[in-house]
């Protein structure tokens, strides 16, 4: 079970993001997933469960769909009606005591029906790591389709 006092640091391309671990997640090794061998479609891999398969997407640093083979794990975020995943170059649990997250909301219209993708930022000097709003990020992943 996820420790609510942690963040998950996700490396997507050259960019790191934080996800509050209280949102619930599981990490799966690549070898436990079914890789999408077709170069087409947004899904990089699936996690097969008894009655369904859960998609995992491959995103670049700008959160656009991409496809590459340089990943070893996928993070599946708890969601309704089913979990949704993304493959990551690197994933790390960061204790909240090691981060100072300030509130941050992007300006302008929100890109998802659940609002803006980010709700905070970890600022260390001039370096910023944006913190996902879990509900909005899940909504974004779910909007990517499963074809």
């Amino acid at each position: 079970m996820a420790d609510p006092n942690q963040y998950l640091r996700l490396q997507l391309g050259e960019t790191s993001y934080l996800l509050p671990s209280a949102s619930g997640f599981t990490i799966e090794q690549r070898e436990h997933l079914v890789i999408n061998k077709s170069p087409d479609g947004p899904v990089a891999a699936w996690q097969s469960l008894r009655s369904q398969r859960l998609p995992a997407y491959c995103l670049d640093g700008r959160l656009q769909i991409t496809r590459h083979d340089d990943w070893h794990r996928a993070v599946f975020l708890d969601a309704t009606p089913h979990a949704v995943g993304l493959v990551v170059n690197e994933v790390q649990l960061v204790p909240r005591s090691e981060t100072v997250v300030s509130p941050f909301t992007p300006l302008g219209l929100a890109p998802t029906r659940r609002g803006h993708l980010f709700s905070g930022a970890w600022v260390a000097g001039n370096r910023i790591v944006l913190v996902f709003d879990p509900k909005a990020f899940v909504a974004y992943l779910q909007s990517l389709g499963d074809a």
Partner: protein, 152 residues
């Protein structure tokens, strides 16, 4: 042109942008800093260029030129970031920053500066008015319109 008159002195900052100059109340500006690395904010509006770390906050950086719909060029090395206090009624951490092409300069207005004709102003909801200061057109942003764009 409207009749000039003098009145209370208003301390303002002249903020040079690409092809236009803004005039903003000095009290609205928290700090002017050098350009620095920005974190991109995926899926943001075209006028939101990213966020910078300032003090302990992440501050969104806008291009006013992009809000006006004019083409945006790369900021010159001498450019600055003007950090504004949160707009009225917003939370106390909601600072925002704007690209400027150079160092803002103080201007003291006393009401004697002629008001620009509407035909001299860009056709944009984000411009409230214009003043002629020493013969130069300076545009006054409509902060209420900005607030509606920022926080729809």
């Amino acid at each position: 042109m409207k009749k000039s008159r003098t009145g209370p002195r208003l301390h303002s900052l002249e903020v040079p942008l690409d092809g236009i100059t803004l005039l903003v109340p000095s009290a609205a500006v928290a700090e002017v800093i050098n350009l620095q690395d920005m974190a991109p904010v995926p899926f943001s509006q075209p006028w939101l260029h990213g966020a910078i770390g300032w003090r302990t906050l992440a501050v969104p950086v806008i291009s006013f030129e992009a809000l006006l719909g004019t083409p945006v060029r790369a900021a010159p090395a001498s450019g600055k970031l003007v950090i504004f206090y949160p707009l009225g009624g917003r939370k106390d951490w909601e600072f925002f920053a704007m690209f400027a092409t150079g160092e803002p300069r103080p201007q003291v207005l006393d009401g004697s500066q002629p008001v620009a004709e509407g035909s001299e102003l860009p056709d944009s909801p984000y411009i409230a008015a214009g003043l002629k200061v020493d013969g130069r057109l300076m545009l006054i942003p409509d902060l209420e319109a900005l607030k509606k764009a920022f926080y729809p």
